[in-house]
């Protein structure tokens, strides 16, 4: 890749070709140096910079690198960050994620205007954040009111409070139990231990013990 060139096509290709979020992050991390050669004085280059830094920001969030995401927002051209609507949205989202303000996060993702090249990555993060939150809530609550659960998941809280079956079904589909009498949802712990993990743990520990035994017998 030419060290001084970066285009919207390259970013778009990175988005479509990345099999998983970490691939997207790795590709975009390599584009950060070429991005430094673009100027905010040119409208065309500003557009590339805006799409690049916004997409790169989301790739951080998709890989749970919140502290790195914050550092990245400090690295991007500050004059552009102050006037570009996408980057402004990213900064607002960062604040909400940092403060773990779930309702605000969904509002930013769904209600704020995002340009077309970012639509897919914004949607991906919405889905990712919902799934992540579902796991976290299932760990944090033993019994939870439907409205509170809906708030965490970015669903309609009023409908959940009234016992809307469509909303409740979103939770029961994940193995949660609905107690109509108590008006509570009972989450199912979603942290599953795969057999493969156990086998790996056993193998690793055996290796360590074997090595210690060998060392001790010397």
């Amino acid at each position: 890749m030419n060290q001084t060139s970066l285009s919207l096509e390259q970013i778009s290709t990175a988005l479509t070709e990345a099999a998983k979020p970490s691939d997207l992050y790795d590709t975009l991390a390599k584009y950060e140096s070429p991005a430094l050669f673009l100027s905010t004085a040119s409208d065309k280059e500003s557009e590339v910079l805006s799409v690049f830094y916004s997409t790169f920001f989301f790739s951080h969030l998709l890989t749970d690198q919140i502290y790195e995401a914050r550092a990245m927002t400090q690295r991007m051209p500050q004059d552009l960050a102050q006037k570009d609507p996408s980057l402004q949205n990213c900064l607002t989202l960062l604040r909400a994620v940092w403060q773990q303000n779930h309702e605000q996060i969904y509002r930013i993702l769904r209600d704020l205007p995002w340009p077309d090249p970012l639509q897919s990555v914004v949607k991906s993060y919405d889905t990712y954040f919902q799934e992540k939150t579902l796991k976290e809530v299932s760990r944090a609550y033993e019994a939870i009111k439907p409205a509170a659960a809906a708030g965490y998941m970015g669903l309609d809280q009023t409908a959940a409070e009234k016992g809307d079956p469509a909303v409740l079904q979103r939770f029961t589909a994940c193995g949660w139990t609905w107690d109509e009498q108590a008006g509570l949802l009972y989450p199912k712990l979603m942290e599953e231990a795969s057999q493969q993990d156990d086998a790996k743990l056993y193998h690793d520990v055996s290796q360590i013990l074997a090595m210690l035994g060998k060392g001790g017998s010397r």
């Binding site: 944090a140 743990l201 360590i208 090595m211």
Partner: protein
């Protein structure tokens, strides 16, 4: 020019050299090429034709030639412009592009013969990136260079320090981790030691450890000082702090604090101790004991120089929020002067989380109203449930929340839940075991390597035993030793002789 090019392309990369070329032959080919490149007339001759040569050399194959041509070009431009960083080497210039291309593709085997030239180029790239206020341009390149030369990054060099400094300046903390997370435990080997006479390493050979070719003579590193080492660790800890990896940050700081001293401590060590107190509060919610290897007089010096920090830690541990705020406000100028204002403000923000965590030591369960009352000073009561839920979600608190049925009553907080998080505990222990396992492997390999270097390895002892048996056998059958030297065979000392 074509003649020079033919000579410069005569040495292929080690991986592409014809099958069966011995290390000795390849070594002599490289040394011949270096002698050719270092001929007195060559710098100006090559410098004049540099663009043609660089366009026709392949950096991954003709790395050595490429490096010398590039360096001669840069020297010639520096001399003609009387500027250490002319436009040509600044980002966007021709030499910059070539330098970056070279550093991304060079052959690490050939580079073992041109440590100083390689290091000069790396330093120049870092200075050029800093000159245009874009340190990030050099970060990724230098990180990859270090890992290419020394894949395990075991030997500390001045380039390591350059990397962590650039990462801090560019706020690209994650890029430092692939190097920072490795176990660095060697300095470039000092040549001329007696034991090394028996073990002469050929740089182009396959070596298990990079300390065989990263030696002081090869000049991969500029002369390292005590300060360089401490600076690397302090900068490393600051990178971990930016990423909130408190235990790793604390580990780096404790190494700075525990550095050997004679009479007094250095300023950098005091700086580390100040940060260590704050990081200890942020990571554990309390002041952890100082590393045991610090001499007591050194600890006393630290304590006498960091009184405001100790007061903050005391208030934090007491759970006295007002006291904490008061102590922090009193010493505002101290935090500013020490550049620790950011850490101190994080201590304030972390306080409520640790207060909630502490409830688990006293209570098994309590209502959210009670919890709000107990942390009322530092958190608005309306936000308490949201705060506690987020604390649990971020794995900081081992507890669960229960909403009351039909909105009758208060939300319950059940603490020290334990059973639910057994899996995460096991995973944490597994990670720790794997990390210790890796350290053990590194340690064991190093001990083995040292034993071999010092002729203390098992192979050497077995050889000695066999030789001894052969000598004994030869003595019994009356041959092998000239007359008058029979006692020489009797080298096996009888340690029980005084009891006979």
């Amino acid at each position: 020019m074509a003649e020079i090019l033919t000579r410069l392309t005569s040495l292929p990369a080690r991986s592409q050299s014809p099958h069966g070329v011995h290390n000795e032959k390849y070594d002599s080919q490289i040394r011949d090429l270096i002698s050719y490149l270092k001929q007195p007339a060559k710098p100006s001759e090559i410098g004049n034709a540099s663009q043609y040569l660089l366009d026709n050399l392949v950096p991954s194959e003709h790395s050595l030639s490429y490096l010398y041509v590039l360096n001669y070009r840069i020297q010639s431009i520096q001399n003609s412009t009387k500027n250490i960083l002319p436009d040509d080497i600044l980002p966007g210039g021709y030499s910059w592009e070539r330098a970056v291309l070279f550093l991304q593709q060079f052959d690490p085997i050939q580079m073992r013969y041109a440590g100083q030239e390689w290091r000069n180029l790396v330093h120049l790239v870092s200075q050029a990136a800093l000159a245009v206020s874009k340190p990030l341009l050099a970060v990724q390149i230098i990180k990859d260079c270090i890992l290419k030369m020394d894949p395990h990054s075991r030997v500390f060099t001045s380039i390591h320090l350059v990397l962590v400094r650039l990462c801090l300046l560019s706020k690209s903390y994650g890029h430092a981790l692939p190097v920072l997370d490795r176990q660095i435990y060697l300095f470039p080997t000092i040549t001329g030691q007696a034991y090394q006479k028996h073990h002469r390493h050929m740089p182009c050979a396959v070596h298990e450890s990079s300390d065989a070719f990263i030696i002081d003579d090869s000049e991969f590193s500029s002369k390292l000082t005590y300060r360089d080492c401490l600076q690397y660790l302090l900068y490393g800890s600051m990178i971990y702090m930016a990423l909130k990896q408190w235990s790793k940050a604390q580990y780096c700081l404790s190494m700075v604090m525990a550095s050997p001293v004679t009479n007094s401590v250095s300023k950098i060590m005091v700086e580390a101790y100040k940060k260590w107190i704050l990081v200890s509060l942020l990571g554990h919610g309390r002041l952890t004991p100082e590393p045991g290897i610090i001499a007591s007089h050194v600890t006393r010096i630290y304590q006498s120089l960091t009184k405001p920090y100790a007061s903050v830690a005391e208030a934090f541990e007491r759970g006295d929020y007002r006291g904490l705020i008061a102590e922090i406000e009193i010493a505002q100028s101290v935090w500013c002067m020490d550049n620790n204002l950011g850490l101190v403000s994080q201590v304030i923000r972390a306080f409520p989380g640790f207060m909630v965590t502490k409830l688990g030591k006293t209570f098994c369960a309590l209502t959210m109203q009670d919890a709000a009352y107990r942390v009322s000073g530092c958190l608005p009561s309306q936000e308490i449930e949201q705060f506690v839920a987020c604390t649990i979600m971020s794995n900081m608190l081992d507890a669960v929340l229960l909403h009351p049925p039909n909105n009758n009553g208060h939300t319950m907080l059940r603490l020290a839940h334990g059973a639910k998080s057994r899996l995460s505990q096991e995973r944490r222990v597994q990670c720790q075991l794997i990390s210790v396992d890796q350290s053990f492997h590194v340690l064991a390999n190093t001990v083995d390597q040292s034993n071999i270097e010092l002729d203390l390895g098992n192979d050497h002892f077995q050889f000695l035993q066999k030789s001894q048996r052969w000598v004994d056998h030869a003595g019994k059958i009356g041959r092998g030793f000239p007359a008058g030297n029979v006692n020489a065979a009797d080298t096996d000392e009888d340690i029980m002789s005084d009891l006979h």
